[in-house]
């Protein structure tokens, strides 16, 4: 294999925060297979059904299925310099969109409501292969529904809070309150 150059590092606006890795260990949580029906918003739907099941935090695998409404973000430069990057305006690919594969991390926003973070590869209605960050509230499942497999975090939770190193509201793990 050809030698690769030294990887480039990013410089964020804030000071580096230790520790560089945050982790929370739990005994096994629940495992769920979810069939989400046509008309469901994929990300808000996942958050709502898991919350209804008493699950605040989960890792979710999904692939296949189609969308009859779909919008995604990519990254763009942040012209204000507040962050190293920000989100693009929403992109609207030709419909229907077919999901190739995706992962979702489900946690909580700063107020404790469900928050789902999803990156995916998908095909637009003209067969173009695309990738990006799916927008909650903007991706509606098409005919036949969509299957997702969820692993709950057990006694570990992910909740968003402001990260002064990057200036993003990011999901951080912690022990769930008993």
């Amino acid at each position: 294999m050809t030698a690769l150059p030294e990887p480039r590092r990013v410089e964020h606006p804030g000071e580096e925060i230790e520790p560089r890795v945050l982790s929370e260990v739990s005994e096994p949580g629940r495992e769920l297979r979810l069939h989400l029906p046509e008309g469901t918003d994929i990300l808000n739907g996942l958050g709502a059904v898991l919350r209804e099941q008493g699950i605040n935090t989960a890792g979710v695998r999904l692939g296949g299925g189609s969308f009859k409404k779909f919008s995604y973000y990519t990254g763009v430069e942040d012209p204000t310099g507040y962050r190293v990057a920000t989100f693009s305006p929403p992109n609207f690919p030709p419909l229907p969109v077919t999901l190739a594969i995706a992962n979702v991390m489900v946690g909580m926003d700063e107020e404790g409501a469900p928050r789902s973070h999803c990156h995916a590869i998908f095909l637009d209605g003209e067969g173009n292969k695309l990738g990006g960050h799916l927008i909650p509230g903007e991706c509606i499942i098409g005919p036949g529904g969509l299957v997702a497999w969820a692993t709950a975090g057990g006694t570990a939770e992910l909740q968003a809070h402001h990260d002064p190193e990057t200036n993003f509201p990011l999901l951080h793990p912690s022990k769930a309150e008993a």
Binding site: L4, R8, P28, G59, V84, M105
Partner: protein
Amino acid sequence: MSDILIEDVGIEEGRFGRVVTARVRPNLDIVEAIENICAENNIAHAVVRGCVGSLMDANLEIGSAEKSNIQTIPGPGLEIAITTGEVRPDDSGKPRARLYGLVANWDGDGWAGEFIRGHNLTFVTLELMLQEWLPE
């Protein structure tokens, strides 16, 4: 031709154990970070249950063991997910991760492949759920 070499199939039976929920901060290699999380928690075998994040630049290995290519995807700020990943001990017993997933750039172009150790540094964050695998 469809010979199925049953005797060559590697089968391992086991069950799932502890779950680790984690965040990796910027400028860490994702392969090494996952190995270190396992080592610190005394986890020898694990699978990725969910993982979403971003990379400064991405370097993927694509192709077969005999003929592989490196796909370099220039960033910054590539969106990624680790869609398949496992950790297993090497000959010395240290956790070694092999991670496969997707990458998307700012134009919405998409790629997939294996993340090459030491050459995929986190950009903003990596959110991760690992689960211990306990072979029997």
